[in-house]
C-alpha cells in the first residue's frame, strides 16, 4: 500500500464580513498518496483556491477564520504549527504554483534571485552554489539559456517562460507535495500543453505528489490519477480518473462532463447546467446543488446528503446518484 503524503481532515474556512459570513470551505477531507496526482475540480467560486491556501496555511486571520481537525504531510502533523514553524515547511516540504505568473513574481527582482532565495533559505548553499542549482532547475523545466535567463526580470519573459519559472520555484527543493492552483488557466492553449508536459514529467520523474486544482477537465484528463469534485465548499464526489469520466455518479459531475463540447459529439446545442453557483453567503437549504439538479427530490431540498464511501476509492454525496438508475 502506498503511503499517504497529504491528509486533510475536516477543513473549514469562513470569511466573516459586514453582511454575514462567507462559507468558503465546509468540512472537506483530502488524501493524496505518494507519487499520485490528485485533481480538485469545480467551478469558480467553489472554494478550491481557498483550500489550496489553507493547506499551506497561507490564509490570514483576519479576514479568514479556519478550523481543521488534522493536517498531515508525509507523516508529520502540521495541524498545530504556528506560522513561524510553517516557514520551515513551506517551500521545502510542500510548495505551491500559482495561477498568474506575472503577478506571482516580484517585479523588481530577477527570476534567478527569486529561485536562489528558496535554496538559500532551506539549504546550506552559498550564493554561488544556489545560483548553480537555480540554473539546473531552470534547465529541468525547459527554459532555454538558463544562465542568462536567470538574470531577467519577470516582465521580460513570456507567459510560458514565467510559468516555467514558477514550476522551477516549486520543485526547487523537491518537496513531498506540490499544489498547482490553475497552473495553465492564464496561458494560450499551445503554451498550456507545453507547460502541462513539464509539470507532468517533473511530477512523475521525481515521484512528487501533486494536488492539482482546476476547472478545466481536459487538464484533469491529461494529468490526474484521482479526482475530487467540489461544489460550493463541499466535496460532492471522488473517483479514480477513468471512472469519473466514464461513469460519473453525481449529477453535477455529469453536467460538467456534458458541457465540454466534443467534436465527436454530433450534438447541435451547448449543454449547460442551468442557473449559477450559489452565493457563498446565501446557500440553499438541503443539498447545495438541488436548485440546478434535474434529479432533485423533496429529500434533496430538505437534507444535505452525507458523503458516502464506496468501493474502489469512490465517494459520493448525493441522495440520487446516477448509478441508482442504471441498477448496477
Amino acid at each position: 500500500m502506498t503511503e499517504t503524503v497529504l491528509e486533510v481532515r475536516n477543513l473549514k474556512v469562513a470569511f466573516p464580513c459586514a453582511g454575514g459570513v462567507i462559507r468558503a470551505v465546509e468540512g472537506i477531507d483530502l488524501v493524496t498518496k505518494k507519487g499520485e496526482c490528485v485533481a480538485l475540480v469545480g467551478e469558480s467560486g467553489c472554494g478550491k483556491s481557498v483550500t489550496a491556501l489553507s493547506i499551506m496555511k497561507l490564509l490570514r486571520t483576519p479576514p479568514s477564520v479556519s478550523r481543521i481537525d488534522k493536517l498531515e504531510l508525509d507523516g508529520r502533523d502540521l495541524t498545530h504549527l504556528t506560522d513561524r514553524d510553517m516557514e520551515r515547511v513551506r517551500g521545502k516540504d510542500m510548495a505551491i504554483i500559482f495561477q498568474d505568473a506575472m503577478t506571482a513574481l516580484n517585479p523588481v527582482m530577477t527570476v534567478g534571485k527569486q529561485i536562489d532565495e528558496v535554496y538559500r533559505r532551506h539549504t546550506k548553499l552559498g550564493k554561488k552554489e544556489a545560483r548553480e542549482q537555480t540554473i539546473r532547475a531552470l534547465e529541468l523545466v525547459g527554459v532555454p539559456e538558463p544562465r542568462s535567463r536567470a538574470k531577467a526580470f519577470p516582465h521580460e519573459l513570456s507567459g510560458g517562460m514565467r510559468q516555467r519559472v514558477l514550476i522551477a520555484l516549486a520543485f526547487a527543493c523537491m518537496p513531498k507535495l506540490i499544489i498547482a492552483d490553475e497552473p495553465t488557466t492564464s496561458l494560450d492553449v499551445t503554451i498550456q500543453a507545453q507547460v502541462l508536459d513539464v509539470l507532468k514529467s517533473m511530477q512523475r520523474n521525481h515521484d512528487v505528489s501533486a494536488l492539482l486544482i482546476t476547472h478545466d477537465l481536459s487538464v484533469v484528463a491529461n494529468m490526474a490519477d484521482a479526482v475530487y469534485v467540489m461544489y460550493s465548499g463541499k466535496i460532492v464526489g471522488r473517483a479514480p480518473k477513468q471512472q469519473l469520466f466514464m461513469d460519473p455518479l453525481h449529477p453535477y459531475t455529469q453536467g460538467l462532463l456534458a458541457s465540454v463540447p466534443r467534436i465527436s459529439d454530433g450534438k447541435q446545442a451547448f449543454v449547460q447546467i442551468p442557473d449559477t453557483v450559489p452565493h457563498p453567503m446565501r446557500k440553499p437549504s438541503g443539498c447545495y446543488f438541488h436548485p440546478r439538479c434535474f434529479r432533485a427530490s423533496d429529500r434533496c431540498r430538505e437534507h444535505m446528503p452525507r458523503l458516502e464511501n464506496l468501493e474502489n476509492g469512490r465517494q459520493i454525496r448525493c441522495w440520487h446518484p446516477l448509478h441508482q438508475e442504471r441498477g448496477a
Binding site: 491556501l53 516580484n106 532551506h122
Partner: protein
C-alpha cells in the same frame, strides 16, 4: 539602466528647459505694449521732451533698444554664461550673487524639514500599515484629513503665537541679525537652530503626515499583491518578506513623492519664510516683487524652474534604477 533611456530623458529635460526659459523671457512683456515701460521712472515734473529722452535712455540702459529677437539672443547668451541678469537694487548686484547668498538659508529649512518628515513618516507609515485597522492607522487617517485642511502658514501663526509669544520657547520672528552675524561658530549655529525651530515645525507637521500616509497606502497595497503570498509560500522568513519583497516594492511610489518634494524644496517655503521673516529665497522673491525688481524676479523664477527640471530628471533616473519595468516605454 538603459543608456538610450537616460539619453532620452536628458534630452527631454533640456527641451523642457528651453521652452521654460523662453516663456520666462516673454512673461515680463505681458500686459504692456512697450516692455521697457515698467522701468521708466515716473514723469514727475519733467517736460514731455525731457521725459522722452529719459525714456530712451532707460530703454538703452536695460537693453530694450534692440529688437526683441536680439534681446532674446542676448538673454540666451547670458544664460550660457550662467548669468541670470542684474538686479535693480542699489549696487546692481548680479541675480546669481543674491541667490547664492540666500539659497543656503532656504535650504537649511527645506532640507531639515524633508529629512525629518521622511524619517518619521516612513516609520509611522509602516507602523500604521502593520497595525492596519487599529488605532494607529485610524489616527493617521484623521491626521491626514486634518493636516491638509490646516494650511502650514496657519499652523505657523499659531505656533508663532503660542510657542513664540506666549511661552517664549522660540523666537516668533527671525532675528534680523542672524545672517550677518553668522560665523560658523557653535554659538551662531545654535542661534540659527533656535530661529529655525518654528518654521521647520510648521512645515514638518504636514510633511510627516503626508509621507506617513503615502508609505502606509503603499505598504498595504503591496502586501496584498500576489508575489507576497508567493514569498510566504516559499517559506521565507517574516523579515525577508518584509524587507526584500514588501518594502522594496512599496518604496516605488514613495520615490516619486520624494522627487516631487525635492522640486518644491526651494520655492515651497515662501509663505512660511514670510510668516517668520526668514531671510531666504522666499523673502528675496517677495522683496523683488514689492520693489518691481523684474530681473531679479524672473531670474529667480528661472532658477526655480531649472531646479525643478533637474530634480525631476534625477528622480526619474533614480526611479528607473529601482523599478526595472520603467525603461520599457513611457511609464505614464
Amino acid at each position: 539602466m538603459k543608456r538610450s533611456y537616460v539619453i532620452k530623458r536628458i534630452l527631454y529635460a533640456v527641451f523642457i528647459f528651453f521652452v521654460v526659459l523662453t516663456l520666462n523671457f516673454f512673461i515680463p512683456r505681458i500686459g504692456v505694449r512697450d516692455p521697457a515701460e515698467r522701468y521708466y521712472p515716473p514723469q514727475g515734473a519733467m517736460s514731455d521732451i525731457e521725459y522722452e529722452i529719459i525714456k530712451q535712455f532707460t530703454a538703452e540702459q536695460y537693453g530694450f533698444d534692440v529688437s526683441t529677437f536680439q534681446q532674446y539672443v542676448r538673454y540666451l547668451n547670458g544664460l550660457i554664461h550662467g548669468d541670470l541678469g542684474t538686479s535693480l537694487r542699489a549696487g546692481s548686484p548680479r541675480v546669481t550673487e543674491l541667490i547664492g547668498e540666500r539659497l543656503p538659508w532656504t535650504l537649511v529649512l527645506s532640507v531639515t524639514t524633508l529629512i525629518i518628515s521622511l524619517v518619521i513618516g516612513l516609520l509611522f507609515g509602516t507602523l500604521a500599515a502593520w497595525k492596519r485597522g487599529r488605532w494607529q492607522d485610524t489616527l493617521l487617517l484623521s491626521a491626514s484629513t486634518i493636516s491638509i485642511a490646516l494650511p502650514a502658514f496657519f499652523i505657523a501663526l499659531m505656533l508663532s503665537f503660542y510657542l513664540g509669544f506666549e511661552l517664549e520657547l522660540f523666537p516668533a520672528y527671525t532675528n534680523p541679525n542672524m545672517v550677518a552675524q553668522f560665523d560658523w561658530s557653535l554659538e551662531a549655529i545654535r542661534v540659527v537652530m533656535n530661529n529655525a525651530a518654528l518654521p521647520i515645525m510648521s512645515m514638518a507637521l504636514g510633511g510627516i503626515v503626508g509621507y506617513s500616509q503615502t508609505t502606509r497606502n503603499s505598504v498595504i497595497a503591496v502586501t496584498n499583491e500576489d508575489f507576497v503570498i508567493t514569498a510566504r509560500a516559499k517559506g521565507l522568513s517574516h523579515t525577508t518578506v518584509l524587507y526584500k519583497h514588501v518594502l522594496r516594492n512599496a518604496m516605488l511610489p514613495l520615490a516619486t513623492s520624494i522627487g516631487m518634494s525635492i522640486s518644491g524644496l526651494i520655492g515651497g517655503a515662501i509663505i512660511i519664510e514670510r510668516v517668520f521673516n526668514w531671510q531666504g529665497m522666499g523673502t528675496l522673491f517677495l522683496e523683488a516683487n514689492s520693489t518691481n525688481d523684474y530681473p531679479l524676479m524672473m531670474g529667480i523664477m528661472l532658477f526655480l524652474s531649472a531646479f525643478a527640471i533637474l530634480a525631476n530628471l534625477i528622480t526619474e533616473l533614480f526611479y528607473s534604477i529601482l523599478d526595472p519595468r520603467v525603461t520599457v516605454g513611457d511609464k505614464r
